[in-house]
C-alpha cells in the first residue's frame, strides 16, 4: 500500500492527540480483554478438558449437597467407566491466608489416572499412596510458597470442623494452562477425622470425577449415571467437565451478558472519543483535503485514507491494551483473586484476536463520519478557505 507512509505521517501529525486517543483505546481494550478472557479461558479449558473424557457428578440439588461415598464404588462398576475418584473441596485456611487455595480430598490410588494430564515422579506418588496424611501439591503453588517435599503443613478447617496436618509427599507438573495450584490428599484421612468428631459431614464424597473410557461414551454414561441414582436417597447430576466449569462462571451471575453489555458500552464510548479526535484532525486539514482532490484523489481514495488512519490509531492502541493484558497475567499471580478454578488465569489467543478485531472495528466506526465528510469536501470551497 503505497499510501501507507502518508497515512502514518498523518497519524503522527498531532502526536499528543493521537497518543491520547490511542491510550484511551488501550486502556478500555485492556478492560474488555480481561473480561472476555475470564469467560473465554473457562470455555477454552472446558473444551480442552473434553479430550480427558471426564464426567463430573454433583448432588442433584447442587454442589453444597452431599454425594454419598458409597456412590463411588457403584459408579466404578458401570460400563464405560475407566476410573472414578471422590473429589471433596476442603477450603481450609493455611497460616493467615484470607482466601483458601484449592485443596481436595481424593483417592490417592486413582486420582492421577483421572487427572492423567498431571505427572508425579513415581517414587513420590508411591510415597503418597502409602502415607495416609500425605499430600501432593502443584508445582506452581509449591514454588510460590517455597514448599519442598517433606514439608509439613496445617490446614484449618472452615467448612469442615477439623484441621488437616499434612506432609508434602510430592509435587505434580502439567501442561501449560493447566491448574498447577491444587493440593490433593487422602479422602480416608479426612473421613476418619470427621468420624472422630462425629460430624454429619462424614461420608460425603463432595463430587465424583469419572474418567470415561472414551470421550464418545460420555453422553450415554452421564444418562446412565443419572438414571442409576435417580430413585436413590441421593440422586446425582452428571455433567461433562466443561459444563461443570461453566457452572462456576454462571454462579457468579449472568456474567456473559454482563460482560457483553460492558463491552458494548466501552466500545460505544470509544467510537465517540476516537471519532471526535478524528473529526477535529480533519477539520484542520480541510484545505489539504481540497488540494488532494484537486490533484486527482478521488472521493473513494480520500475516504479510504481517512478510514485507514482511524483504524491505524485504534489498532495501535488496541494492541497495547491487549498485550498489556496478556503480559500482566502471564507474570502476575491471580490466585489471590481467590475464585476457585481461576488461579491459572491467562488471556487466550482467541480473546486477543477478538480484541484486536474489536479495536479495528472501533477505528472503522470512529472514522466513518469524518471520512465521509472529507470525501464530500468541495475543492473550490476548501481552497477558498483561508488558513
Amino acid at each position: 500500500m503505497k499510501f501507507l507512509p502518508y497515512i502514518l505521517r498523518n497519524v503522527q501529525r498531532n502526536k499528543l492527540r493521537s497518543v491520547f486517543t490511542g491510550l484511551s483505546i488501550a486502556v478500555s481494550l485492556f478492560l474488555v480483554t480481561v473480561l472476555y478472557a475470564y469467560v473465554n479461558m473457562q470455555d477454552e479449558m472446558g473444551e480442552g478438558a473434553l479430550k480427558y473424557a471426564r464426567v463430573v457428578c454433583t448432588a442433584k440439588q447442587g454442589l453444597t449437597f452431599p454425594v454419598p461415598i458409597a456412590h463411588v464404588d457403584k459408579v466404578k462398576g458401570m460400563e464405560g467407566v475407566k476410573t472414578v475418584v471422590p473429589l471433596a473441596w476442603f477450603g481450609g485456611k493455611y497460616k493467615d491466608d484470607k482466601i483458601p487455595f484449592a485443596q481436595f480430598a481424593t483417592d490417592p490410588d486413582h486420582c492421577f489416572e483421572v487427572f492423567a494430564e498431571f505427572t508425579v515422579p513415581p517414587d513420590q506418588l508411591s510415597n503418597f499412596q502409602k502415607d495416609r496424611t500425605g499430600c501432593i501439591v502443584g508445582e506452581k503453588i509449591a514454588r510460590k510458597r517455597q514448599w519442598k517435599v517433606g514439608d509439613k503443613i496445617v490446614l484449618k478447617g472452615d467448612i469442615y470442623p477439623v484441621n488437616l496436618e499434612l506432609t508434602i509427599d510430592g509435587i505434580y507438573t502439567g501442561p501449560a494452562g493447566s491448574d498447577l495450584e491444587m493440593l490433593f490428599y487422602d479422602y480416608t484421612y479426612l473421613d476418619e477425622l470427621l468420624k472422630q468428631s462425629r460430624s454429619q459431614m462424614a461420608g460425603n464424597a463432595g463430587t465424583m470425577f469419572i474418567k470415561a473410557q472414551t470421550p464418545e461414551m460420555m453422553p450415554d454414561l452421564m444418562q446412565r449415571i443419572n438414571a442409576r441414582f435417580a430413585n436413590s436417597e441421593a440422586p446425582v447430576r452428571a455433567m461433562t467437565e466443561q459444563a461443570f466449569r461453566q457452572m462456576f462462571t454462571e454462579m457468579l451471575g449472568n456474567i456473559r451478558v454482563f460482560i457483553r453489555n460492558i463491552a458494548i458500552i466501552v466500545v460505544a464510548a470509544l467510537v465517540c472519543v476516537a471519532g471526535n479526535a478524528m473529526a477535529m484532525s480533519l477539520r484542520e486539514r480541510t484545505r489539504e483535503v481540497a488540494v488532494l482532490k484537486a490533484i486527482g484523489f478521488s472521493r473513494f481514495i480520500v475516504l479510504t485514507l481517512v478510514l485507514i488512519e482511524a483504524i491505524v490509531i485504534a489498532v495501535i492502541g488496541g494492541f497495547l491494551g491487549v498485550m498489556a493484558a496478556r503480559l500482566l497475567f502471564q507474570f502476575t499471580d491471580m490466585s489471590m483473586i481467590g475464585i476457585p478454578g481461576f488461579s491459572s488465569f491467562y488471556v487466550p489467543v482467541s480473546t486477543m484476536l477478538f480484541s484486536m478485531l474489536l479495536a479495528a472495528a472501533i477505528g472503522l466506526a470512529s472514522g466513518i463520519i469524518p471520512a465521509w465528510r472529507a470525501a464530500q469536501v468541495s475543492v473550490v470551497d476548501g481552497l477558498r478557505k483561508v488558513v
Partner: protein, 239 residues
C-alpha cells in the same frame, strides 16, 4: 499531445457562471469565449472579484459552468462524471496555488510524488519522475526537507515540481507569486517561462502583479466577467 494538438488546449464556448448567495444570483462570468492554443502562456489580470479564480476552476473542472461548454485538451468537461473528472485532472492538469499548499507532513520528495501515487508506476519509476521534476525546479538537494524547512520561494518551486511531475498538458496557476518577495517572484517567473519555452507547457496564470504578467506571451483582462484582450506592447507603451 494527442487529441488536443489541432485544437486549442483550453476552449470556452458561451460560458457563464453565476453563484447563488442568499437566494440572489451573483453573475460572475457572462457568455465568455476563450481559446488558448497549445504552448501559450496567458496571464489573466483583473480586479479582485472579477472572476479570475472562477475561470481557472472552470478550466480545471473543479467547478461547472452554469451554461456553455469547457473543453480542455479535447475533452468536454461537462460530459464527465465527478469521478471521471477527478481522474482526468490527475492525468492532464498541474496546479500551482498562491499558498503553495504542500502537505506539511510530507517531505519535498513525497509531496512531489503524491500525484504519482494515483498512477500504476513502480516505486523506482516514481522516484525517477520525482527526481527529474525536482531537478527542473532546482531543488534536488532539498528533497528530504519538509515544507517548514524551506523558504516560500522554495516551497512554491516544490509545488511547481508537483504540478509538473505527471507531465500535464496544462498548468494552472492562481497568483503563484502573490505571497513572495520580488526576488523569489522573479525566480518563479523564470521557472514558469522556462517551462513554457523549453518544455512547451501551456500555462494559464492569474496574477495581480504586472511584472509577472509581462513574462507571459499574452495577457487577458477580466473586467466584470468579460475579457478585454490587451497586447503586451500596448501595456508596455502605457507604462
Amino acid at each position: 499531445m494527442p487529441a488536443g494538438s489541432e485544437r486549442a488546449v483550453v476552449e470556452l464556448r458561451g460560458v457563464s457562471k453565476e453563484y447563488m448567495r442568499d437566494k440572489i444570483r451573483v453573475p460572475v462570468l457572462s457568455n465568455t469565449n476563450l481559446d488558448i492554443p497549445h504552448g501559450d502562456f496567458v496571464a489573466v489580470m483583473g480586479p479582485s472579484g472579477s472572476g479570475k479564480s472562477t475561470l481557472l476552476n472552470l478550466a480545471a473542472g473543479l467547478d461547472r459552468p452554469t451554461t456553455g461548454t469547457v473543453t480542455v485538451a479535447g475533452t468536454e468537461l461537462n460530459q464527465l462524471s465527478e469521478s471521471k473528472l477527478t481522474r482526468w485532472r490527475s492525468q492532464h492538469l498541474g496546479f500551482i496555488f498562491q499558498l503553495y499548499n504542500l502537505m506539511p507532513v510530507l517531505t519535498a520528495f513525497e509531496n512531489v510524488e503524491l500525484p504519482l501515487l494515483l498512477t500504476s508506476l513502480s516505486r523506482r519509476q516514481r522516484a525517477e519522475h520525482v527526481e527529474t521534476a525536482l531537478r527542473i525546479v532546482g531543488l534536488q538537494e532539498r528533497m528530504d526537507h519538509f515544507p517548514r524547512q524551506l523558504s516560500g520561494g522554495q516551497e512554491q518551486r516544490v509545488a511547481i515540481a508537483r504540478a509538473l511531475v505527471n507531465d500535464p498538458v496544462l498548468l494552472l496557476a492562481d497568483e503563484p507569486t502573490g505571497n513572495l518577495d520580488a526576488a523569489a517572484a522573479q525566480e518563479i517567473m523564470d521557472l514558469l517561462q522556462q517551462l513554457n519555452e523549453e518544455f512547451e507547457k501551456t500555462i494559464v496564470m492569474v496574477t495581480h502583479d504586472p511584472r509577472a504578467a509581462r513574462r507571459a506571451r499574452r495577457m487577458l483582462h477580466l473586467e466584470k466577467g468579460t475579457f478585454v484582450e490587451t497586447e503586451l506592447d500596448a501595456l508596455e507603451a502605457a507604462g
